[in-house]
C-alpha cells in the first residue's frame, strides 16, 4: 500500500517533469524574456560586430570589443573613481548614520519626534530631485568635479538613520547597563554593544547603498565635468551616447565592463543581495 503510494507519487513526479504545466511554461518563458537583454549584451560583446543580429552558434569569439572600449575611453580611471566613490560614501554613511541613529534610539533630546520626522522627509526629497540648487551649493563649497562632491549629498541618508535607529531600538537596555557597570562610556557602549549587534543591518544597508551608488547617474553627471572625477555610469553614458557613433559591439563591451563587478558580486551572493533589498525595503 505504502509502496504503491510512493510509486504513484514517483510516477506523478516524472509526469510533471515530462509535461510542464501551463504555469511552469509561462514562468520559464517570462524568465527567458527577462534575462534575454543581458544575454544579448553578452553575445554582442564577445562576437565581431557582423554577428550582432546573426545568431550563429559557431560565430567566432573575440575579446577585441573589450580592447577597443578600453582603448577608446579611460575606463581604468572610471573604475578607480567609482570604487573611491562607493567606498567613501558607504563608510561615511556608516559613521554619520550610526551616530544619528544612536542619538534617535537612546538619547532624550527635546523635540526628538519632530526632528525625526524632519529627517524622514529626505526619504522623498532626494539630492537628484534638487539638482539645480545642489549644484549651486556644491559649487559654492568648491566641490564641483570632485568625488566628494558626488558623494557628500548622500552621506546623511535618512534611510540609513532610520534603519539603524530601528535596529538599535531592538537591542535590550540590559546589555547597555552591563557595559556601563564595567565602566564603558557612551562611545564605548556604541562601539562594543550596539554596532556589533547591528551587523546584519550594516550588511544589508551597505549592499543596498553600494548598488545604488555604483548605478547612480543624474547627480554625478551634473556635478562632474572631467575624466578625473567621473564614475563609470557617467563615463559609459558619455561613451555610448548614440551621437558619438561608437560601434555597437564596443558599446556592449563597455556596458559589460561597467556592470561586471556588481553583476558578478550579485551572482555570487544572490541571497545576501535579495535579503538586503528586502530588509532595507520593508520598514
Amino acid at each position: 500500500m505504502n509502496q504503491a503510494h510512493s510509486l504513484s507519487a514517483a510516477a506523478a513526479k516524472r509526469f510533471v517533469i515530462r509535461v510542464p504545466s501551463l504555469e511552469t511554461t509561462a514562468a520559464w518563458l517570462l524568465a527567458i524574456v527577462w534575462i534575454f537583454p543581458l544575454l544579448y549584451a553578452i553575445w554582442a560583446a564577445f562576437h565581431p560586430s557582423a554577428y550582432m543580429v546573426r545568431f550563429d552558434l559557431l560565430a567566432p569569439l573575440t575579446l577585441e570589443n573589450f580592447a577597443n572600449a578600453w582603448a577608446q575611453a579611460p575606463f581604468a580611471r572610471y573604475y578607480v573613481n567609482t570604487f573611491l566613490l562607493v567606498t567613501g560614501v558607504v563608510l561615511a554613511q556608516f559613521v554619520v548614520c550610526t551616530l544619528a541613529g544612536f542619538a534617535f534610539a537612546r538619547f532624550p533630546i527635546p523635540g526628538k519626534d519632530f526632528l525625526f520626522m524632519l529627517v524622514l522627509i529626505q526619504l522623498f526629497v532626494f539630492p537628484e530631485v534638487l539638482i539645480v540648487e545642489n549644484y549651486r551649493i556644491a559649487s559654492g563649497l568648491g566641490l564641483v568635479d570632485t568625488i566628494t562632491g558626488i558623494g557628500l549629498p548622500y552621506v546623511a541618508s535618512a534611510f540609513g538613520i532610520f534603519l539603524l535607529r530601528q535596529t538599535f531600538k531592538t537591542i535590550p537596555r540590559e546589555l547597555e547597563d552591563a557595559a556601563r557597570v564595567e565602566g564603558c562610556g557612551w562611545m564605548a557602549i556604541l562601539l562594543k554593544v550596539y554596532v556589533p549587534l547591528a551587523k546584519p543591518t550594516y550588511l544589508a544597508y551597505g549592499l543596498v547603498s553600494i548598488s545604488h551608488h555604483w548605478n547612480n547617474f543624474l547627480w554625478p553627471l551634473v556635478v562632474t565635468n572631467s575624466v578625473e572625477s567621473r564614475p563609470l555610469t557617467v563615463g559609459l553614458g558619455i561613451f555610448s551616447a548614440p551621437e558619438t557613433g561608437v560601434n555597437w559591439a564596443t558599446v556592449s563591451a563597455a556596458t559589460l565592463l561597467s556592470i561586471a563587478p556588481l553583476l558578478v558580486a550579485f551572482l555570487l551572493f544572490q541571497r545576501q543581495f535579495v535579503q538586503s533589498f528586502l530588509r532595507a525595503g520593508i520598514r
Binding site: W28, P37, Y40, A103, V129, W248, I259, G281
Partner: protein
C-alpha cells in the same frame, strides 16, 4: 541638581551625535528645498545682474507653457504605463517563484537581475533592440515580413518604448517584496481552503490578494517616487524627444537648468515635482503606516 546636570549632559551629548547628520541634511536637503521655493519667485540675473523678484510670474509662465503640460502629461502617462504593469508582473513573478517550479533558482535570478544593472546600462542594451535599421526588434519584424517600427523616433510610439524598458527594469525589484509577503502567509489558510474546496482563483482573490495589500501599497509608493525621480534612461534612449514626446519632469528640469541656463524656471518645475512627492509622502504616512499597523 546633580541629576539635572547629568540629564543636561546627556542631552548635549545626543545633540552632538546628531550634529553631522543635521549639518549635511541642512546643506543638501533643506537648504536646497527652501532655495528652490524662493528661486521660483525670481528671474535669473542675466549678464551679472542680480536676480529680480517677480512674484508668481514663473508660475504664470509655467501654466502657459505648452511644453510643460506636454511633459507633465507624459509623466502621468509614464506613471500609468509603468506602475500597474510592473506591479502586476511583479505579483505574477512572485506567485510563480513561490510555487513548486523546476529551476526555481534560475527563474528568480532571471527576474531579479535587471534590478542590479544601472539604468544607463539597461538603456544601452535596449537601444540595440529599438534602433531603427539594425535593431533586433525591427530585424525580427523584418524576418516575419512586417515593416519596422520607429521605436524611439515615432512620437506616438517612443513613450511606450521607454515605458516597456522601465517595466523590464523595475518588475523584478517589486517581486522580492511580494515574495517575502507570500512566504509569510500561514500555510494553514491554504490547507483550510483546500478542505473547503475553494478554487485557487477565489483563494487568490479572497485571501492572498487582500493579505498582500500592505505590500502593494508599499510597492506603489516606491513606484510613484521612481516615476518622478529616475530619468537616466532618457539620456541614452531619446533625450526627451522626438519633439518632447518622451520628456519627463525631471529631465525637463535638467534641460532648463543645464542646457537653457534658466535656473529659476528649472526651480519652478522642481516645485511641481516636490508637490508630487509631498502627495506621495502624505499617502505613505497616512494610508500605508496606518494599514501596516494592523499586520
Amino acid at each position: 541638581m546633580l541629576i539635572h546636570n547629568a540629564d543636561r549632559r546627556i542631552q548635549i551629548y545626543g545633540a552632538l551625535l546628531l550634529l553631522p547628520a543635521a549639518v549635511l541634511l541642512g546643506t543638501f536637503a533643506y537648504l536646497p528645498t527652501v532655495a528652490t521655493l524662493i528661486n521660483s519667485l525670481f528671474l535669473p540675473g542675466f549678464r551679472g545682474e542680480p536676480p529680480a523678484f517677480v512674484g508668481f510670474e514663473n508660475y504664470a509662465v509655467l501654466i502657459g507653457d505648452a511644453t510643460f503640460w506636454k511633459v507633465a502629461r507624459n509623466n502621468l502617462l509614464y506613471a500609468l504605463g509603468t506602475i500597474p504593469t510592473s506591479i502586476a508582473l511583479a505579483l505574477g513573478m512572485a506567485l510563480f517563484v513561490n510555487a513548486r517550479l523546476p529551476g526555481r533558482g534560475f527563474v528568480r535570478m532571471a527576474y531579479f537581475t535587471p534590478t542590479i544593472l544601472p539604468m544607463i546600462a539597461a538603456a544601452n542594451v535596449w537601444m540595440f533592440f529599438y534602433a531603427p535599421q539594425i535593431g533586433l526588434f525591427n530585424k525580427l519584424l523584418g524576418a516575419l515580413g512586417l515593416s519596422g517600427v520607429n521605436w524611439l523616433g515615432d512620437p506616438g510610439v517612443a513613450l511606450g518604448s521607454v515605458i516597456m524598458m522601465t517595466v523590464w527594469k523595475e518588475a523584478g525589484f517589486f517581486m522580492i517584496f511580494y515574495l517575502a509577503a507570500l512566504q509569510s502567509i500561514p500555510p494553514e489558510l491554504k490547507e483550510a481552503s483546500d478542505l473547503e474546496g475553494t478554487s485557487r482563483w477565489s483563494f487568490f482573490w479572497r485571501v492572498t490578494f487582500p493579505l498582500l495589500m500592505p505590500t502593494t501599497l508599499f510597492v506603489l509608493i516606491n513606484a510613484l517616487i521612481n516615476s518622478v525621480r529616475v530619468v537616466d534612461h532618457l539620456f541614452i534612449l531619446t533625450k526627451g524627444g522626438p519633439n518632447n514626446a518622451t520628456n519627463l519632469l525631471l529631465y525637463y528640469v535638467y534641460e532648463n537648468a543645464f542646457s537653457f541656463f534658466d535656473r529659476t524656471y528649472a526651480a519652478t518645475i522642481t516645485v511641481v515635482i516636490l508637490l508630487v512627492l509631498a502627495v506621495v509622502a502624505t499617502l505613505k504616512f497616512t494610508v500605508l503606516d496606518r494599514r501596516t499597523h494592523y499586520q
